[in-house]
Amino acid sequence: MDKPLRIIIAKPGLDGHDRGAKVVARALRDAGHEVIYTGLRRTPAQIIETVRDEDARLLGLSSLSGAHGHLFPRICETLRENDMGDVIVFGGGIIPEDDREALFQAGVKAIFGPGTSTEEMVAFIETAVERNDAGVGSDTGWHWTGLS
């Protein structure tokens, strides 16, 4: 029996724009996955509880407020602390190039900025779930570098 992937799309922090998150949610739905959208202004703790209760394999974080450098690593850390190191975390929104390396170091496995095609996101997800080092708890250093 084929199993759709369960994916949480979350908006952490104080940022009131979610058009991008909804487009991503919709694209992943159309790719055959089960997407749960959290709604706006979630705290890291709320997001992690949602991932836990919904048994999500992937977590997509969207931030347009500039707080990604604080919120994304905090969420990754809390996932690891709560024995959820196998969850795959990816991010998107307005994330300056200079900030990305630190987020990859923190456990985020892909960053998608404006203009990313939905095909690329779907390709990332399909690649990541096949790897055994894509979870937020893995430290092999692998992250998505774009469509080859």
Binding site: M1, P4, V35, Y37, E49, D55
Partner: protein, 295 residues
């Protein structure tokens, strides 16, 4: 062994184990024996009704009241899967504020469920997921169905009680006389009582249900927006008795639901569909194959 561990952890309150256990049931990898409960009180209640009448918001309000007494409630919120891609956007959780309440969040477990291939408003596997919640220490289970039309009565297959949520501006008095879901409801809540027309709709429903029925189901007005009538509705539903008229329909839905699931889970289902699509086999041949014993 692995399964036993999950069950025992879930019983101790490990929600990650519970979530995984439910996934494996949903994916058909695990079959749990459900324990039949013979008590008079219900264990599984379905909230159903048309799209947009406020099922999720109302459920959130009710959960706030029910958890005041420390009752532990599991929620299975069903949303439709796309018939084209098989994917789903599960949005009932967005309405749930009770899962963020510091004192109440440990008393409520909300799980979003997609209908996947099932045609009804509730896939039959939800019954097993509900039994799983009951056997891992949750007192009651609420199933929120997909927004359901007039003749959508599949929830009868999985729930001990059915509560129909209605709203104002849902048609004239003739709508209330029509057959279908309305006949199976054990209680009816007319939501959005803050809007004009809600009271009239409730009266029309009452009138219709009283005809030829000595013990008609209760019809109550509520407003999930303002909180009006929520306490009353919460006690009505908690104490709800089954209206006996639905027993035959329940068994009918259970049989149909089981039959559909067997066909959908048939190992050759997708191949047979492809062959039909390509015109390689005829409908009769396909149906005979699907009904044959799966090897």
């Amino acid at each position: 062994m692995f399964l036993e561990q999950l069950v025992s952890h879930a019983r101790k309150g490990d929600r990650r184990a519970l979530a995984r256990l439910l996934s494996s049931i949903e994916n058909g990898e695990t079959v749990l024996e459900s324990e039949i409960d013979e008590s008079d009180d219900w264990r599984i209640l379905a909230l159903t009704g048309p799209p947009g009448v406020g099922k999720s918001c109302l459920l959130d309000r009710l959960l706030h009241v029910w958890t005041n007494d420390g009752m532990k409630i599991g929620v299975l919120a069903v949303d439709p899967s796309s018939p084209r891609s098989g994917g789903a956007l599960l949005g009932d959780r967005v309405r749930m504020t009770v899962v963020d309440h510091p004192e109440k969040k440990d008393l409520v477990y909300v799980r979003s469920v997609a209908t996947r291939k099932s045609s009804g408003s509730v896939p039959s596997v939800v019954q097993e997921m509900a039994s799983c919640l009951l056997m891992t220490g949750w007192d009651r289970v609420i199933i929120e169905t997909v927004g359901a039309g007039q003749s959508e009565v599949r929830c009868a297959a999985v729930a001990d009680r059915i509560v129909l949520i209605e709203g104002p501006a849902r048609g004239d008095g003739v709508q209330a006389e029509k057959a279908g879901l309305l006949e199976l409801a054990d209680a009816i809540l007319v939501n959005k009582s803050d809007l004009p027309g809600a009271e009239r709709h409730a009266n029309e429903l009452r009138e219709s249900l009283q005809l030829g029925n000595p013990t008609p189901p209760e019809v109550q007005l509520v407003s999930a927006l303002r909180g009006d009538g929520i306490d009353e509705a919460a006690s009505l539903l908690m104490e709800l008795k089954q209206t006996s008229r639905a027993e035959r329909a329940r068994w009918r839905e259970r049989i149909l639901s089981h039959h559909e699931r067997q066909i959908l889970n048939h190992s050759q289902f997708n191949d047979i569909l492809t062959n039909l699509e390509k015109g390689l086999i005829g409908f009769d041949e396909a149906y005979v194959k699907l009904r044959a014993e799966d090897e």
